[in-house]
C-alpha cells in the first residue's frame, strides 16, 4: 500500500533554503570583567535553525592575584546567562591551565524568536585569559 508520494513529500530541512550561519568570539589577554554578551543569534519568523556545534573554552594565561571564577557559557536568553544554560566552561584556580573547554553534546533546534547567546565573565583580580565561544548552525524555512 502506498502511504506517501515522493512528489508531494515535504523537502528535508537542508533543502528548504538552508543557509549556514556562524558566530564566534575569541580574545586573548582578557582581564577580569563583568558578565558580557559576546554574540547573540536570534531566529527570524518563518525560519528555524539547527545548532550543529557549539564550543566554549578558556585558556588561562596569567595567574590572578585573587582567585575568582572564569567562565564562558551559552544560554538561550539574550539578557541572562543563567536562565537556560546550555554549555558552561568554568574554573576557579590559582594555577594556570593550558585549556579548559566544553562542547554541546548534541544538536538542538532554535525556533522563531529564540536567541542563542554566549557570555564571558571573570571575577578574579588580576591575571588574563583567552576566552572563546563559537557555534555553527543552519537556518532553514520552517
Amino acid at each position: 500500500m502506498k502511504v506517501s508520494s515522493f512528489a508531494v513529500a515535504r523537502p528535508a530541512y537542508y533543502d528548504r533554503n538552508a543557509t549556514r550561519g556562524r558566530a564566534r568570539y575569541s580574545n586573548p589577554f582578557t582581564a577580569p570583567h563583568s558578565q558580557t554578551a559576546r554574540w547573540t543569534v536570534t531566529i527570524a519568523a518563518g525560519t528555524k535553525a539547527f545548532v550543529e556545534t557549539a564550543v566554549a573554552s578558556i585558556v588561562s594565561e596569567v595567574n590572578p592575584t585573587t582567585v575568582g571564577f572564569q567562565r564562558v557559557q551559552f544560554g538561550t536568553d539574550s539578557t541572562s546567562a543563567f536562565s537556560d544554560v546550555l554549555i558552561i566552561s568554568q574554573y576557579t584556580s590559582l594555577t594556570v591551565k593550558p585549556i579548559i573547554s566544553a562542547n554541546c553534546p548534541t544538536q538542538f533546534t532554535l525556533y522563531a524568536g529564540q536567541t542563542l547567546a554566549a557570555y564571558t565573565q571573570d571575577s578574579s583580580v588580576g591575571g588574563t585569559a583567552e576566552y572563546a565561544a563559537s557555534t555553527q548552525y543552519t537556518v532553514f524555512d520552517a
Binding site: 558566530a23 564566534r24 568570539y25 570583567h33 563583568s34 558578565q35 558580557t36 554578551a37 559576546r38 554574540w39 547573540t40 543569534v41 536570534t42 527570524a44 519568523a45 518563518g46 539574550s78 539578557t79 541572562s80 546567562a81 543563567f82 536562565s83 522563531a112 524568536g113 536567541t115 547567546a117 557570555y119 565573565q121
Partner: protein
Amino acid sequence: MIIRLRLIGSGRDGDAYRVDLPTYQGVTTNEATGRAFADVPAIDVSPDVAAFVAAYPTVDLVTPLPVPFPQSLANAWAEHLARRYDLGEARWHPVVF
C-alpha cells in the same frame, strides 16, 4: 557591518553587558563610555542607518559622535528589526552611539 552602539546592561549576573540587537558578534566594549563595537548582519541594518554609519565613521570607543543619532532613525531601525524578525513587537531599540 561594524557599528558603534550604545552598551546596555549592568554587567551583573542576569543583566549582562550587551548591545540591543537580535543578532551580532565580534563585540568590543568600553563600559566606562557605554559604547561597543559590534559586527551586525547587513540585512538587519536599514539603509538609512547604514548611510548614517557611513557618514560618521568611528575609530574608537571614546570619541563622541559629531551629531547625535536621530530619534527618527532609531525608531525606523527598531521598526525594521520588528518587521524582519516579525515577532509582533519592537523588542530591540539599538542606538548608534
